[in-house]
């Protein structure tokens, strides 16, 4: 335990010394900054430029950016449309609701491919979307210059995000480890009608429809149109996006713990 610091340490009443100490410090700083002021002359000098950082660090003696990891910066997103599986997870995880899934060419006509469109007017650059992306196709880059002339230009379409991807900017290398997840998507068998909707829409194709035995028809019971198939989910491939739950017409899929 340290002894309390006492505040009272009255300065000397000498009127010469009373200006001398702060003024000497300021003058020392003045002399230092004649060599290299701390200012970074932004449009001409950029912090992300490693040669510049080293130069400044040497010139000013400040530990500016020595070993500075610029690549982790969370700037504008880059989207690799080719590997996007349209799982919606980025849009679900966005706390600011700035991601909308829009149709991009390339999907089959019945089930169009949807990729994220990001409104940077709302985005808070939290990085939850790129953390959530199971395929690593939505990442954040070091691009930070975003000023536009019109508000509509703040909305980046998937194509524009793909352009960012193609500029090969340093991508955010941080991959959040997916914690082992105890949740899985379970089936409530009596409700299932075997409609194939989940398997059809699953972005990772991890649902297969397996035949199940058709029970013997009881006498007098009306014949239903039930298809005697049941989804089986491959947990290791499943990204837990919940698309199957949302498309299930009978609400027979639900979150649970696999026994």
């Amino acid at each position: 335990m340290a002894s309390p610091i006492t505040a009272k340490e009255k300065p000397s009443e000498n009127p010469i010394l009373f200006v001398a100490r702060p003024m000497a410090t300021a003058a020392r700083q003045f002399a230092k900054s004649l060599i290299r002021p701390a200012t970074i002359v932004y449009p001409y000098e950029r912090l992300e430029d490693p040669t510049f950082r080293d130069r400044v660090a040497v010139a000013s003696g400040r530990p500016i950016g020595v070993g500075h990891v610029w690549d982790n910066y969370r700037g504008v997103h880059a989207l690799n449309i080719a590997t996007c599986i349209s799982c919606n997870l980025c849009a679900f995880s966005c706390p600011d609701l700035c991601i909308e899934m829009v149709t991009v060419p390339g999907g089959d006509p019945k089930h169009p491919k949807k990729c994220p469109e990001i409104d940077y007017g709302k985005c808070s650059y939290c990085g939850f979307c790129s953390d959530a992306c199971p395929e690593g196709c939505l990442t954040m880059t070091t691009r930070y210059e975003l000023s536009v002339a019109r508000r509509a230009e703040m909305v980046y379409s998937p194509e524009k995000l793909y352009d960012v991807f193609r500029t090969k900017l340093p991508m955010n290398p941080i991959r959040v480890e997916r914690p082992a997840n105890e949740d899985a998507i379970l089936l409530d068998p009596p409700l299932c009608i075997g409609c194939n909707a989940c398997s059809r829409d699953c972005p990772t194709q991890c649902i297969t429809m397996l035949d199940i035995p058709k029970p013997a028809a009881k006498p007098g019971e009306k014949q239903t149109k039930r298809i005697w198939k049941e989804p089986v989910i491959n947990d290791s491939d499943c990204v837990r996006c919940g698309t199957c739950i949302s498309v299930c017409p009978k609400e027979c899929l639900f979150w649970g713990t696999r026994k």
């Binding site: 009127p15 200006v19 702060p22 003024m23 410090t25 300021a26 003058a27 700083q29 003045f30 230092k32 900054s33 004649l34 002021p37 701390a38 200012t39 002359v41």
Partner: protein, 376 residues
């Protein structure tokens, strides 16, 4: 080196102009324009224009100088984009202010609101008429230029108070009040410190005071008076640590809170005009004006306009000192300023008068470690 004076230059310019004009005019008109009185009138006008332009240019240069110095004190660069090393930045700023709408608060009194800044500006400019810049480079040889300069200089709080009162804003009012209160605290010690200079120099005339410093500059023997004078000047110029009337942290902008556009630019310019005058006065009274010491090689002191050059160097150095103070000291409080003014500065200035009187009596001025100087 009184070969060319500012007035002789403008006189020559005026007579040349008017004679050239007269040569193309018919007889009676020629006689009218070459009348000596007309020539003198035009010469005075040209003189005034040159003076105005020179003082304005210097003021703007001074602002640039402060911005650059302050920037380095703060570990940054200062203005650097417009013109070489940002030299034209202040012109750009002035242009911007000039283009702005001049507005007036609804409840403000227009008379005081508009005359305040103008009078503040004009009084600050008038002082330049009596300040000698180099030998012969002054408006006239009035016997009491020092008193006149200080008298005009101390007009400012009045106009500050007028504009503060008529802005009808509580912050402005408090700033104006502080300005008035502050004046009482620092004017007396300044004048008393000047008395010490007058005692030693034996004259109220600034030119004479400078010539008296040819052998030794006054800052050595009159160091106490110099300290009091510089501190008083800091208060007079309303610069940190004595910028309470426009203390930004509590009074927003003090007495010029309600001003914008060109009226604000007037205040801003006049502030720096006064800073320039303050620096010039320090140079004239204590640092030997345009004279240089004998150990300086003759080649450095005998080129054309060397007097003006060295005078400017000294002035900008003195202002650099003010900037240094601004960069490293906090602002005092009103009551502390008054206490310092009455309890410290007035006794100190009385002491400096006493010292000056002793020095004059025993005639030992050069013995006191002062810098021997020589007229240029």
């Amino acid at each position: 080196m009184a070969s060319a004076t500012l007035y002789s230059v403008s006189d020559g310019l005026a007579s040349a102009l008017l004679h050239a004009l007269g040569s193309v005019l018919p007889g009676p008109a020629r006689a009218a324009v070459t009348n000596p009185n007309v020539i003198v009138g035009l010469a005075v006008l040209i003189f005034a224009v040159i003076l105005l332009a020179a003082s304005m240019l210097n003021t703007i240069l001074l602002i640039w100088w402060e911005r650059k110095l302050l920037g380095r004190f703060m570990d940054r660069r200062g203005a650097m984009h417009v013109g070489f090393a940002g030299l034209l930045q202040n012109f750009a700023d002035g242009l911007k202010l000039f283009r702005k709408n001049t507005f007036q608060p609804q409840e403000a009194d227009p008379l005081g609101f508009y005359t305040g800044p103008c009078a503040y500006m004009v009084t600050s400019l008038i002082i330049f008429g009596v300040l000698p810049i180099s030998s012969g480079w002054n408006a006239g040889t009035l016997p009491l230029t020092l008193l006149l300069a200080l008298a005009i200089f101390s007009f400012a709080p009045l106009f500050i108070f007028v504009s503060a009162w008529s802005s009808n804003n509580k912050y402005s009012l408090m700033g104006g009040m502080r300005s008035a209160a502050q004046m009482i605290a620092y004017e007396v010690p300044i004048l008393l410190a000047v008395v010490a200079v007058i005692l030693v120099a034996g004259s109220f005339n600034l030119t004479t005071i400078v010539y008296e410093q040819q052998n030794y500059w006054f800052w050595g023997p009159l160091v106490v008076a110099l300290i009091v004078f510089v501190a008083g000047m800091l208060a007079e110029m309303e610069r940190i640590p004595f910028d309470l009337p426009e203390a930004e942290a509590e009074l927003v902008e003090g007495w010029n809170t309600e001003y914008g556009g060109m009226l604000f630019a007037f205040f801003m310019l006049a502030d720096y005009l006064r800073a320039l005058v303050g620096s010039i006065l320090v140079v004239l009274l204590f640092l030997g004006g345009w004279t240089m010491p004998t150990w300086v090689p003759g080649a450095l002191t005998s080129f054309p306009l060397a007097g003006i050059f060295w005078f400017m160097v000294k002035t900008y150095t003195v202002f650099g000192l003010f900037v240094w103070v601004r960069a490293s000291l906090p602002r005092v409080r009103t009551d502390q300023l008054l206490r310092v003014g009455w309890n410290r500065m007035i006794p100190l200035s009385l002491l400096s008068i006493f010292l000056a009187a002793v020095l004059v009596t025993v005639k030992c001025l050069p013995l006191l470690g002062c810098v021997p100087g020589v007229g240029s």
